[in-house]
């Protein structure tokens, strides 16, 4: 084994994997702090500002607190599934980062020829977290939250998938790296604006973020599907949600806003800035919009989002065919 082999075939991929994982979790954790500070700014108050400079140590303090809390498993619950459920959302969110190219050099399996489908499949598996967590809790509030989560997620997955097909047609590939490279001249948000709109809304709904936090609507259902969870298991649901926010933001930046492409600055900085922009957008939407009623959500999905994404698909396909001739 030569030194060169060691560096190129072992050390570099290993650094790549570890870097992407740590980056994703780190960004997810910092997003918790960013959200609390920015909600404070937009609600004319200060937000957490005690621990560390600007209160950035709040995340660490919360984690320490949550580790030392009692990790209670309800005696009436289905114990195995109760423990498995919160791990699913973390695993699924982390695995999804594998297919996303961060920069031309960084990315784990980013030239997978079905990268986008892989991302959608992982999003689809993420439903099981809420579904099993709510089922295993054996609690009526959890069950109600689960019912909402399942219907909402299965529905919004459809629009998420359909909205991305326009991008696939323009880039002529399911590989996310090819999609980013196809955006060198023009970001796909311009030809695919409605696709972006649908994807942004569906991404919010998929990560159960306000205003789509109907499965965990705390004014109606205590905490929805994770009512019975405490300690680190709740922490995994919590961090999983924020990693999901980072994932959705990163996908928006990568699929519609040109990924690492940008003038002057290095690619890593560009993708970071774009992702941060969308994370802030998520937080702004959370601080502004009220939660819709459940039937309003479903009606909006099936009567607005689905026709919009289908029309976008058909028109894009027509234009692509006409241009190809």
């Amino acid at each position: 084994m030569t030194m060169e082999f060691f560096i190129n075939d072992i050390l570099y991929p290993l650094l790549n994997v570890v870097g992407v994982l740590v980056g994703a979790i780190g960004f997810g954790a910092v997003t918790i702090w960013i959200e609390r500070r920015m909600l404070g700014v937009w609600q004319d108050r200060l937000g957490p500002n005690r621990i560390g400079p600007l209160g950035i140590g709040q995340v660490v303090a919360d984690m320490i607190k949550i580790f030392f809390k009692e990790d209670w498993i309800p005696p009436f619950s289905d114990k195995v599934i109760f423990v498995i459920a919160p791990t699913i959302i973390m695993c699924v969110a982390m695995i999804s980062f594998a297919v996303i190219p961060i920069t031309p050099e960084i990315g784990v399996a980013d030239d997978l020829n079905i990268g986008l489908l892989f991302f959608l499949a992982m999003m689809a598996l993420g439903v099981y977290s809420a579904l099993l967590g709510g089922f295993a809790s054996d609690n009526k509030l959890s069950l109600l939250g689960t019912v909402r989560a399942a219907a909402q997620s299965v529905g919004y997955e459809v629009y998420m998938g359909l909205s991305l097909m326009g991008v696939v047609m323009l880039a002529d590939s399911f590989s996310i790296r090819d999609i980013v490279e196809a955006q060198e001249d023009m970001w796909f948000v311009i030809p695919q604006f409605f696709g972006f709109l649908v994807f942004a809304i569906a991404g919010m709904a998929e990560s159960h973020r306000a205003p789509f936090d109907i499965p965990e609507a705390e004014t109606e259902l205590a905490a929805g599907f994770h009512t019975e969870y405490s300690g680190m298991k709740f922490g995994m649901f919590f961090v999983g949600e924020y990693v999901g926010v980072v994932l959705a933001s990163l996908m928006m930046a990568v699929l519609f806003f040109g990924g690492w492409h940008g003038p002057f600055l290095p690619p890593l900085v560009w993708i970071f800035l774009k992702t941060l922009f969308f994370v802030l957008f998520f937080i702004l939407v959370r601080s502004v919009l009220p939660r819709p009623r459940y039937d309003q959500l479903m009606a909006f999905g099936w009567k607005v989002m689905l026709p919009l994404s289908l029309a976008n698909l058909v028109i894009t396909a027509g234009i692509v065919l006409a241009m190809a001739d």
Binding site: W42, R45, V288
Partner: protein, 175 residues
């Protein structure tokens, strides 16, 4: 449909403008927010301008107190004035409603702006008369009950106080 989207976008913009507004909250222990003179905080017993206790142990505050936090007992001094033998407020019951202040005929009991009353022992929340009495006159600087009331005390007969008319002669028929 268009209206729905427009109102959402307008509220997004409206909140985004708050990025540059000053926060209304302050970093509390370092900076104190403004408290109005009428803030209802810890209860104090005040003295009149001569330095005497204003409280005449009339028990109105105790009877009006909704959570029954006030307890006191009357004693009569040699000069004929009433005073409280003990005056006790249990601040772990007190709800800072200010009704005792309203009921007080002599402006003795008043609510101050102080609210930092955390204690580790529940019993420390029970304030005795020595704890409640302050050296000043509180919100009403010139008021002295015995100078305006219709009660004879040492050095002043009925009707001799400020703004006070002579008592009506009950045995006379003249107006």
């Amino acid at each position: 449909m268009i209206n729905v989207f427009w109102s959402q976008l307008r509220s997004l913009w409206g909140v985004l403008k708050h990025t540059f507004t000053k926060p209304v909250t302050v970093r509390y222990p370092e900076e104190m927010p403004y408290y109005s003179p009428r803030y209802r905080g810890r209860i104090v017993l005040t003295r009149d301008p001569d330095g005497e206790e204003r409280c005449v142990a009339c028990n109105l505050c105790a009877s009006v107190c909704p959570p029954d936090a006030i307890s006191l007992e009357k004693e009569e001094r040699d000069d004929g004035r009433w005073r409280a033998r003990y005056f006790r407020i249990n601040f772990s019951r007190c709800i800072n409603c200010g009704m005792c202040e309203e009921a007080c005929p002599t402006y003795a009991i008043q609510l101050s702006q102080d609210f930092e009353m955390g204690e580790y022992v529940r019993q420390d929340m029970v304030f005795e008369k020595e704890d409640l009495l302050i050296q000043g006159t509180g919100k009403y600087h010139d008021y002295n009950f015995y100078r305006v009331s219709g009660k004879a005390v040492e050095g002043k007969d009925k009707g001799q106080a400020q703004n006070e008319a002579e008592p009506i002669n009950l045995t006379s028929l003249l107006p």
